[in-house]
Each structure stands twice: as structure tokens, then as C-alpha cells.
Point group: C2
Chain length 295, copies 2
């Protein structure tokens, strides 16, 4: 796991630097908006999604500059969803990565607008010729991100999550909720690397299946963490799911059962990338990492 | 003006039909999200932005199907901005086109998510091959929309607008605020028609300048309307600008002065399209319309 942590931390630094350059500070009335966008996207995090983009892209020898831009783009998309999710009208969360969430640090209106502008920017970055020379590749990235993050993906999942609060969901419903809410964007991150690498249809769909199962394992493990870890370990409020009356894998399967399910799905993720040699070892390490992490 | 109204109303109907097909109703937990997206985008409005896309595209003999998709896309983008703008943390507006605004009809969380998903969908539609056969054209549309609507465009303008509340802005500051907040998207709408039509660089920049000045004239006229029309005429709360302590053209120039400035900018808009013959007459009528309308 040490080699993975070193690799993730180096990549997180590169992505952080890219975001810093993509959202330069400005003067004037919009300075507050830019500051909030920077606050929401800079200053850490594991950058799992960005790492996934970059690692998959490296399988296909994609230039690091383009991959880091796509990685920064998906981290901005992810950050926008967290900023809006933390709002009082949504999950009403005051803490994010151990720091005040964006609407606490700034104000609600600024947080809404910063989230909006981060979404726009994530598409803007993909569409820019600096990301890839081919308009076809760029348009495929835009389409894949829109599919993963819109009403039929992440935002649809957030809606289902809210609708499901306070009533018991079946295991199937919980799985679908998470596949949409967090799974789609993680799957996209893997797929984006394959799109950048102009991988064949078959390889792209394997990478996509890997990403889908990695995302599912990540989410099940997240439920386990929420039920077992402390706020200090998590850097956010712990036990929120239970308090909000949300149906989770842990509520349905118990802590042990959920941990076992995470390992089963993780095995499945690994099977999709068995066509690759040692060059995919970090993608394999990542699968182990998401089910074993403590924060 | 009668021929323009007939043309706008026919086009609005086509755009309405396109939006209806692009956001089909669904079952399940996300039904509420889709219903809110439909509520925010269907059921009327002048469709000024969509009309502009379609009219400019028709100058270049673009197929109506593609133009209507781009028109629907910009109307969705516009609708998302209104949904978020009406939220309690922002302008806190209960009425929109004479109907309850989206967060009043549904709830705040649903309105936030519906706005988010509408933004995503507006990019998704542009990127889809049904919009145009050329990936280059589609990527140019995505880039132009992202430029117009993000932190350096519409959302930046919304931030400046909020920052400026309660303090006196100069005429120059007010002009910049509006150029960003509403002008960019109107300019984009004209430009999108030229992008779809694969117009030359020179023609595209004339169309863009036309759109910019049309948007400015529209906004100045809007300030005049807000100060002089009734809520019944407007279909929204009247006199909000003054109540919110916002600096407007009317506050700076008086009602007569602002009306005169609108006419001056309108003349400027017309000059940019003097290279076209009678085929651009509806674009000319539109300029007169935006400064003369009563709602």
C-alpha cells in the first residue's frame, strides 16, 4: 500500500497545481466567487477520481498534461457536487475534510454560484484544445461527463437519496442509488482515461466495468466507515447516515456483511483488468485501498 | 411587430416541443427531479435566446432540427440560472412568469438539483451528434456556452450583482455587470447560430457584436420596465431592483435617460448586421422589439 500512497500523493500534488493554474485569482466583484471556487477545490483530498483518470491514461501512454487537465476537471465536478450537497437545504453539513464547508466559510449564495461555475468549468476544460488535439476525443469526454453527472447519473442519485430518506430501501434500491450518486463519476474517471487513450471499444468497456465496480466497492466501504470510524478519522461528521434515517449497506447487511460485500465487488473489479500486465498494478492496489482505507 | 410576434410564437412552440422531448418523464425516485426540470423549462416564456439561435442559424440555411436543439439547450441553461437565482439564499423570488418559482412549487433541494441537472443537460445536448455532424462544430458550441455562462460570464455577473447590492455602482460597473449577467448568454445565442452555420470569422464576430448590443439594449430596457411596469404586466414582482438597493440604469440615468440609452445601443446593434439583406429583417425587428416590449 505504501507505493500506492506515494503515487497517489504525487499525483494529488500535480492535480492540485493544475487546479491552482486553472482557477487563477482575480480582482473585482467576482473575486469572492473565484475565492470560493478555489476554497472548494484546493487544499487536499485524496483525489481518487483524478488519480483514476491519470492512472488509466498512463496505460495508454497519454501525455501527462492532458490527463492532469481531465483529472482537474473531474475533481472540480466532484467538488461542485459536494458544495451543493453540503448546503442547508440539502445535507446541511458544516464540515468537509475537517474544514468549514463552503457555505459556512463564505455564504449560501456564494456557495451555490461557486458550485455552478465549477460545473461549467469542468466542461470548459474538457472542451479546450489543450486537453487533447482531437475534437472527437474532447467531445467524447464532454458526453461521458454529462452522462455520468446529470439527471441520469450523479444528480439523479442525489435526488433518489433525498427521496429515500426516512423510508426503508431494498438492497437493490440502495445499490442503484449509489451506482448513480457516486458510482457514475468514479466509472467516468476510469473511462475518461480510456477515452483520452483512444482505447478500443472492448478495452474501454472493460475499464468502464472496472470503474463501475471500484466505485461500488468504494461506496460500500464508505458506509462501513461512516458506521465505524470517528469524526476525527473521517474529517467530517460521522454517523450522519444513520442520523438522517438513510438506508445503507450497513443497515441492510450489518457491518460484517457489508465489509464482505465490499470485498466481493472488489474482486469483481480486479477481474475486468486481468488483460493487463504489471502496468495495471496500481489500478489493482487502488481496489484494495478503497476497501481497506480508514478515511 | 406583428410578423415578429407570429414568428417568435411559432418558434417558441417548436422549442417547447423540443424541450418536452429532451426531458421525458420518468418513474422512480428521480421522477421529482425530472418534474422540476420540466416545470422550470416548459410552460412558456418568450424564448428570446432560443429564437436568436434559430434566426441566426436560418441565415446560414442550417437544418431546423439542429438549431432547435441548440435553442432548447440555451433555454435550459437560462432556466437553470433563473431557478438558482430565485432561491431564498439568492434573490428570494416567489414568482416567475406569474407562477410559483421552482423552489416554491417543489422545495429548495429539488430546485438546486434541477438547476444543476439542467446545466449538465444543456452541455449534453450540444455535444450530441444529433445536434451537428461535425465534432468540431459541437466542441465550439460547448466552448462558447461555457465561456458565456461560467465564472467569466453569467455566473460571474450574478456574483458581482450580489456584491454590488446596497452600494452605488458607476455606470461603467453597471454596464459590465449586465454584460456578464445577461449579455453573455444573449450574445452566445446569436453566436451559436453562426457557429452552427460555420460562418466565416468576420461574419461570426459581427453576429457576436450584434448579440452583445442586443443583450445590452434588452437589459437597459428591462431596468426601465422594472421601474415602470406593474407586476401584472411583468408576470413577476415589480420594483424589486429598487427595493433590493440595486444600482440600475434607471437609478443612474433616470427613466427617460435609460430609455434613450437603450435606443442608442439598439441602433448600434443594427449597424453590425447591415451586411445582410432582407433575410435578416427579423433580427432587425427583434432589436426594436426588445426596447419596446412591455413584459
Amino acid at each position: 500500500m505504501a507505493r500506492l500512497r506515494a503515487s497517489m500523493s504525487a499525483r494529488a500534488k500535480a492535480i492540485e497545481g493544475m487546479i491552482d493554474r486553472l482557477i487563477p485569482r482575480v480582482e473585482g466583484g467576482e473575486a469572492r466567487l473565484i475565492d470560493a471556487m478555489r476554497y472548494a477545490t484546493l487544499g487536499g483530498g485524496k483525489r481518487l477520481r483524478g488519480y483514476l483518470v491519470a492512472e488509466v491514461a498512463s496505460l495508454f501512454k497519454v501525455a501527462a498534461g492532458g490527463a492532469d487537465r481531465v483529472a482537474a476537471s473531474v475533481e472540480m465536478l466532484h467538488a461542485y457536487s459536494l458544495v451543493h450537497d453540503d448546503l442547508p437545504a440539502m445535507d446541511d453539513d458544516d464540515l468537509r475534510r475537517g474544514q468549514p464547508s463552503t457555505h459556512k466559510k463564505f455564504d449560501e449564495a456564494t456557495a451555490i454560484l461557486a458550485g455552478d461555475a465549477l460545473q461549467t468549468m469542468s466542461f470548459d476544460i474538457l472542451a479546450n484544445p489543450l486537453t487533447h488535439g482531437s475534437a472527437e476525443v474532447r467531445i467524447n469526454l464532454v458526453r461521458a461527463l454529462a452522462d455520468a453527472s446529470g439527471a441520469a447519473g450523479m444528480v439523479g442519485g442525489q435526488m433518489i437519496d433525498m427521496e429515500g430518506e426516512g423510508r426503508a430501501l431494498s438492497l437493490e434500491e440502495v445499490a442503484r442509488l449509489h451506482a448513480l450518486k457516486t458510482g457514475c463519476l468514479i466509472r467516468y474517471s476510469a473511462e475518461a482515461g480510456a477515452i483520452l487513450g483512444q482505447a478500443s471499444e472492448d478495452v474501454r468497456s472493460r475499464i468502464s466495468a472496472y470503474g463501475r465496480d471500484l466505485g461500488a466497492a468504494f461506496q460500500i466501504a464508505d458506509d462501513v466507515l461512516d458506521a465505524t470510524a470517528s469524526a476525527e478519522e473521517l474529517g467530517k461528521t460521522a454517523g450522519k447516515d444513520e442520523a438522517a434515517g438513510k438506508s445503507t449497506y450497513v443497515a441492510l447487511l450489518g457491518v460484517e456483511g457489508a465489509a464482505k460485500e465490499a470485498r466481493r465487488v472488489a474482486e469483481q473489479a480486479l477481474s475486468h483488468i486481468d488483460i493487463f500486465g504489471p502496468e495495471a498494478d496500481r489500478l489493482r492496489d487502488l481496489v484494495h485501498y478503497v476497501v481497506e482505507r480508514r478515511n
